[in-house]
Amino acid sequence: MMRWFGTTIAAAGLLAASGAAAQDKPDTLQVGITAFLSGPASVFGVPGRNAAEMLIEQINEDGGVGGVPIEPTFIDEGAGGDQLLSEYRRLVENQGVDVMLASISSGNCKKVAPLAEDLQVLNIMWDCGTQVIFEEDDYDYVFRTQAHAGAEMVATVLYLLKVKPDFETIAVVNQDYAWGRDSWNIFLKTLKALKPDVEVVAELFPKFGAADYSTEISRLSAMRPDVVLSTSWGGDLDTFVRQAATRGLTRQSTFVLPLAESSLERLGSTLPEGVIVGGRGNHYFLHPEYRDEPAFWNFMTAYQERTGEWPIYPVFHMSQALNALDKAYESAIEANGGAWPSTEQVAAAMEGMTFRGLTSPVTIRSDHQGLEDQLLGTTTSSDEYDFKVLDNIMVFSGDLVTTPVGQVTAEWVQTLDRSILEADGIRELGGVN
């Protein structure tokens, strides 16, 4: 009798425990996503949001994250930094958002990272590139699921030196704000370490959002540098390239445009052949290593059908952030014996985790920085598309081009030597027309 009673009590206890666990499991996983939905940077934010909606639909159709559907809430970064912070706080404190994906702007990432620590909410920096975040501070709740500006610029220099080793002069035309200045600083330090004799003939920083680059183009046309670098993006990049192409500058100098993957389709036939193009990571809708993978190509075509445009890098970044989130919850639930995990348990699962977005695997290091490969290529004409596609594609492995843990990018790049050009972590893939 006593034995039966004991068993009943134990069973009731287990039932109660499982009931408690079921109650802890939320009805929805609330995810706040910040992106530019207005202003010039909406060229990235709108594709990012489109991708998030598609990917979340897919995750929810497949049963959600650990059985819980994702419920996204979008915040417009275009409303300004102060507005973003108050909206961020409101979502976490009042709406009870579980995870934040923030943000596109590096300035905004610098603002939300300490706030995420204060609020003890998991924050995935899904697109911003500033390298200083994890170099200047340690965070428990903040992670980045893609590369930073340092890796992007080092890979760009390596590609340039591999395809055009003998150039002597370079000029830069970057937007006059933090990204334009910082990216040039890293690029130049890397270049000077690997090719000290290169001469910088012009450093031009036109106003952000400038409508006219005529004077800059006249000056470059008169100086005839071998290489023209521009890390500009969006409408600024489109305008600069179009004005330069119309006036023949793109025939005189080799253009290096590390963000132009996001402008390929918009620039159409205006973008000439022979331009070096990057995509802030291992991102390209005709990626030679993944194009034949059904999951990859199905998503590319589904996105194109839904939005009328081929995916650009923010789409890939969003897929990395959401896949990392999904996998981290899965691992944390497993480590928690099947029970719904706490934020701290999910954060612990993120550290050291390797996951895949749409292309190659990304690993989150101990400093919470993602190690992501970098793809660059050279433009060529296509029979199939009415815009330029990439040829002579190279992929640089994330651990080759990313600043080691505990080091500062601006100093580390100066220690590089030319042996890096022959390293194993460089894959030459040709191109796909």
């Binding site: 010039p40 450093e203 409508a211 000056r219 119309t246 205006t270």
Partner: protein, 300 residues
Amino acid sequence: MSQLILLAVLDGLAYAALVFMVAVGLTMIFGVMRILNVAHGSFYAIGAYTAASISLGILGAGLSPVLIYPALLLSAVLVGGVLGLLIEPLLLRRIYGKEQVLQLLVTFAIFMILEDVQRLIWGSQPYYVDNALTMLGNVEVVSVFYTSYQLLVLPAVAVLTLIGLRLFLRRTLQGKLIVAVTQDREAAQACGINATRVYLTTFVIGATLAAFGGALASPTTSLVPGIGTDMIVLSFAVAATAGLGQVEGAAVTALLIGLGRSFAVYLMPELSVLMPYLIMVAVLAVRPQGLFAVAATRKV
């Protein structure tokens, strides 16, 4: 060095032409109505977007691309006419003579609304329709290629606009009425001039000039949300430096600022962004009323 000066002058001319087209409308509106119209930048932006849309329509319909040139003017008249005839009677007429803060707030509100209207109609992705630019080809000056459109057409249109405005203001009755109201509103009204009509005419002309500036700029640049903001700030700098209400002064100041900026790009690129404002500060420090404004006695 002589090559550098020549290139800087040519670049400065082309830039000044566009700036003048927008600033002159702003300064005319202020001269007559004493309203600093923040929404002026929106007229520029909507003029540019409309010109691009009509150009795409012409190309899409298989019509001759040459029609794009008159379409630039047509879109300016369309935008200036529709927006001018709506905004002046419905909104601005209620705030004449009120506090300047209120005027700024109302025109700023119009600006914000029109920014959203642009996004609603044209979205957030950049537009670029450059057929008007490419059809005319390039001209070579000391081994540097310029587009004929920017080097010849834009300055020519700006000069024609200036001459046309001068003739209109000095030789036509409607123009003389505008000048009379600009110089002394009360005396003009006392003489029986219908100020309400003059205000409307001036506002429509000013809005059309801003839209024409946008239409002329549209083949040269990407149209993105926010292009109007950039232009309104620069136009304010030109109008304030010239002296608010000064049409010819706006032309000279636009030239000064255009040349200042282009020489800065060649000689001190770090200062190129600041140059228009440095010129403005330098001028206003010496002549607070602006370069060309005549000091007026204040009525009490």
